[in-house]
């Protein structure tokens, strides 16, 4: 080990390095060792590293104290696995500090705050997850951000899934677990959308994209989701629950990983994540098949995270629409929209409120579409809200051919942001150029075209239905003359109307989301007997039972209340006669007495 005095002599020849070293020696005592072992000529790389470190220290000193304290506190909570503290820090602390200090800029990089947390890799991975989520939501991520966030997500899932000692003991709040999965898929989708825009890429980006074909590949995303599902055995768990197995049996079925709440919830959220990914890629049957065992009702133990609940219903409903099962879709949307209306009061403070509201808006639009294609007499409440919001479009929807633009508008507004599984050919510059010249159509447009073809097939339905409602039997030729159409064509349209009034639907007893029976969805039915059309209508008789029962029970409650109430004070025969008198308030009371006497 060289003497300090000797090094002082030695540095006479290299003045500039001396400057740097001296500063270091003043700043951090720990760096002395580095300094003493240093070669007389310090090479370029070390110099850069040292300058980088200085920049970091400068950034470090700019971090507000409140933020530093928060990070230390958060780290402590994670180390101790203190779920309550973590939840508080995650839900309110992070958001508050973001609003206050980082609403327009990024949080400090993970390397900068690393000294605060003693370089705890796990915490840094979690921190980076939050950091990139912030970048994606408030700022514009650039290509580096996208690549790095992918790597970070891979590290996180690697840690969770492939640790050598089996399941990790980390505990995180459910909201955060859902956000991890949700954000992962969102970044995946965002990357694909961004990648498809060939013309706006710089040279550097083109090179990086050509090399990085593995980044955000569909297979790796699917791999993550499927692994989480398999490790946590969530499907087996749901089936066992439906069969009412005992706790012990269930614990055995789900194994080590599945019994930990972290993996259990991650498994369930991955199911919903897979549902979403398949819808984005256009595979609707597979999407429904993946969640086929999930029960769509409020008793489901997984409804604690509202955002997940709402997302599930949205995607399931959309799949039903693309499968032409409109009654099912309507039922799903009505269920969740009622739920949102009731829950609205409890969620005003969370940042999810906006997201849930946006999804609710889209679902109203989808409900309007389904209702036009398959009118039902379900929820008036929802119907009124829809008419409020989309009044003029809603009216146009039921007008056959003229309504097509309205259908297109609503569909494009409400559909998920579809992506195309294949990237532009970045690795082949020639193909890339021709791709840029003639880009293929956007996935959303393709799905829209399919949907519009469906709608067009039903274009004749509203007019025919309105005519048929007026008759019980009618000659086909006469009907053709009313419509000014060729008889044969009109008969074919009638067959189409008949087909439109039949849908596959779940009648309430099926467990599986894909099951269903052919049911009739229209209250007006007809049959053609050679050339005579016979029409019948299903009407609903007056329902008075509910009303009477409710009012009877109400009267009984009033009677009980009056009977159990205190008697008027005894020495007041005047009070009794007052009760008999015709003054207005007393009259009410008298009436109540009267009905009680009669009841």
């Amino acid at each position: 080990m060289s003497q300090p005095r000797v090094s002082l002599w030695a540095t006479e020849e290299i003045d500039e390095e001396l400057q740097v070293d001296v500063n270091l020696a003043i700043g951090n005592y720990g760096q002395n060792g580095l300094y003493e072992d240093a070669q007389p000529k310090i090479d370029e790389a070390t110099l850069i590293a040292v300058q980088h470190q200085m920049a970091q220290q400068a950034a470090f000193s700019q971090i507000p104290d409140a933020v530093k304290r928060f990070i230390v506190h958060f780290h402590q909570a994670v180390l101790e696995n203190n779920l309550a503290e973590i939840t508080v820090a995650y839900e309110s602390g992070w958001n508050r500090l973001t609003e206050k200090h980082y609403s327009k800029t990024e949080w400090p990089e993970a390397e900068v705050i690393a000294p605060l947390v003693n370089d705890d890799q796990l915490f840094l991975i979690l921190y980076r997850e939050l950091y990139y989520r912030h970048v994606y939501s408030r700022l514009q991520p650039d290509i580096d951000d996208r690549f790095h966030s992918y790597e970070n997500s891979c590290e996180l899932f690697n840690y969770l899934l492939n640790s050598e000692d089996g399941p990790v003991s980390l505990q995180l709040p459910e909201q955060w677990l859902w956000d991890i999965v949700d954000e992962f898929i969102y970044q995946f989708q965002s990357f694909y959308v961004w990648r498809a825009k060939v013309k706006t890429k710089t040279e550097e980006e083109l090179v990086m994209l050509a090399d990085g074909s593995q980044v955000w590949s569909a297979y790796s995303v699917l791999n993550v989701l499927y692994s989480l599902i398999q490790k946590s055995k969530i499907n087996e768990f749901i089936l066992a629950q439906q069969q009412n197995k005992s706790e012990a049996e269930i614990a055995e079925i789900v194994g080590d990983y599945g019994s930990l709440p972290l993996y259990h919830m991650l498994g369930y959220f991955s199911l919903i994540g897979l549902l979403r990914v398949h819808v984005l890629l256009g595979d609707f049957t597979l999407a429904l098949k993946v969640v086929e065992n999930v029960e769509l009702n409020q008793k489901n133990p997984f409804t604690r995270v509202t955002a997940c609940h709402v997302a599930t219903y949205y995607y399931v409903g959309f799949c039903y629409i693309m499968l032409r099962r409109y009654p099912d879709a309507i039922r799903v949307f009505v269920q969740i929209l009622n739920f949102i209306l009731r829950m609205r009061q409890y969620h005003t403070r969370s940042y999810q409120y906006d997201q849930i509201n946006k999804t609710a808006d889209r679902m109203y639009a989808l409900f309007a579409i389904c209702n036009a294609l398959s009118p039902s007499r379900l929820d008036d409440n929802i119907l009124n809200i829809v008419k409020d919001r989309y009044g003029d479009q809603f009216a146009k929807l039921s007008r056959g051919d003229e309504g097509l633009p309205a259908f297109e508008e609503l569909f494009l507004y409400a559909c998920p942001k579809f992506i195309s599984a294949n990237p532009p050919p970045y690795d082949d510059p020639e193909q890339l150029a021709s791709y840029a010249e003639e880009p293929p159509s956007e996935p959303a447009q393709r799905h829209l075209a399919l949907f519009v073809a469906d709608v067009r097939a039903q274009a004749a339905v509203p007019t025919l239905r309105s005519f048929l409602k007026l008759y019980t039997s009618l000659d086909a030729a006469k009907l053709a003359s009313f419509l000014d159409a060729d008889e044969e064509e009109m008969v074919q349209q009638m067959m189409a109307v008949k087909a439109a009034s039949r849908s596959v639907s779940r009648v309430g007893t099926e467990k599986n989301l894909l099951d269903g029976q052919m049911i009739s969805t229209s209250d007006m039915d007809f049959v053609i007997n050679e050339n005579m059309v016979h029409i019948s209508e299903v009407t609903v008789g007056r329902r008075f039972a509910g009303w009477f029962i409710r009012n009877t029970e109400h009267a009984q409650r009033v009677l009980d209340g009056v009977k159990n109430g205190p008697l008027p004070l005894a020495p007041q025969p005047a009070a009794g006669s007052e009760a008999e008198s015709k003054s207005a308030p007393a009259q009410q009371k008298k009436v109540a007495w009267a009905t009680a006497a009669k009841a």
Partner: protein
Amino acid sequence: MSATSEWVTPPTRPELIESLVSGVDRYNPSNVGILEDYLYHQIRSREYDCLANLAILKLYQFNPDLYNPDVVVNILVKALASVPFPDFNLSVALLDDRASNANMEEPDPLPGLLPFLNNLHSLLQQCRFPAFWALYRSDALESLRDNYTVEVVGFEDSIREVALRAVRATFQKIGRKRLGSYLDLEGSDLDEYVARLGWRSDTSTGVIEVPQNPDNQIASTVVQEDIKLPQLTKVISHAISAV
């Protein structure tokens, strides 16, 4: 028996395919051969398995170098025969638009055929059967007929099934000529076909009777309300206790 259980799991599907379709192996590109062979089996033996065919299309989505346009056209042709199920639309939804692939040895027939297939499908959906047969038999679709539908055993019969489904639902009695135009059959062919179906045909008036099924029986009903005893328990129990 629900209508969809057969669609989701056809009874003719072998075990191997079942495990492929329901598991994670469906993403394995080396399995595409098995699924393609199964498709050709369906073509030759008049079977149909929608989900397995969709699995093939999904593999093509993720591995564009596996793309085989003949397979895709065959899948779409098979899906035509399953109207009113949405299979055709589902299949098209999985066909990503691809940039012209310069590596193909032969020109890709799909972009040329796709508009025709779409047309055929919408004609079937709108139940415009005479127009369907006209388009199908036209010169423009000669390549489709010669290369693809001729391989599919019983293609025309399966389209006739689609027409019959619509006819069964809508008619109690249908004129002979009209039925003939929907099925693209005439004269003795038509009579033979109807006889095979077991439908009664009145030769003098030329009217064919459609057997009864839930769809073509109509009755004006009034949905009556059913008051059940449990709804009245509160009222009755209160009355009893008051007495």
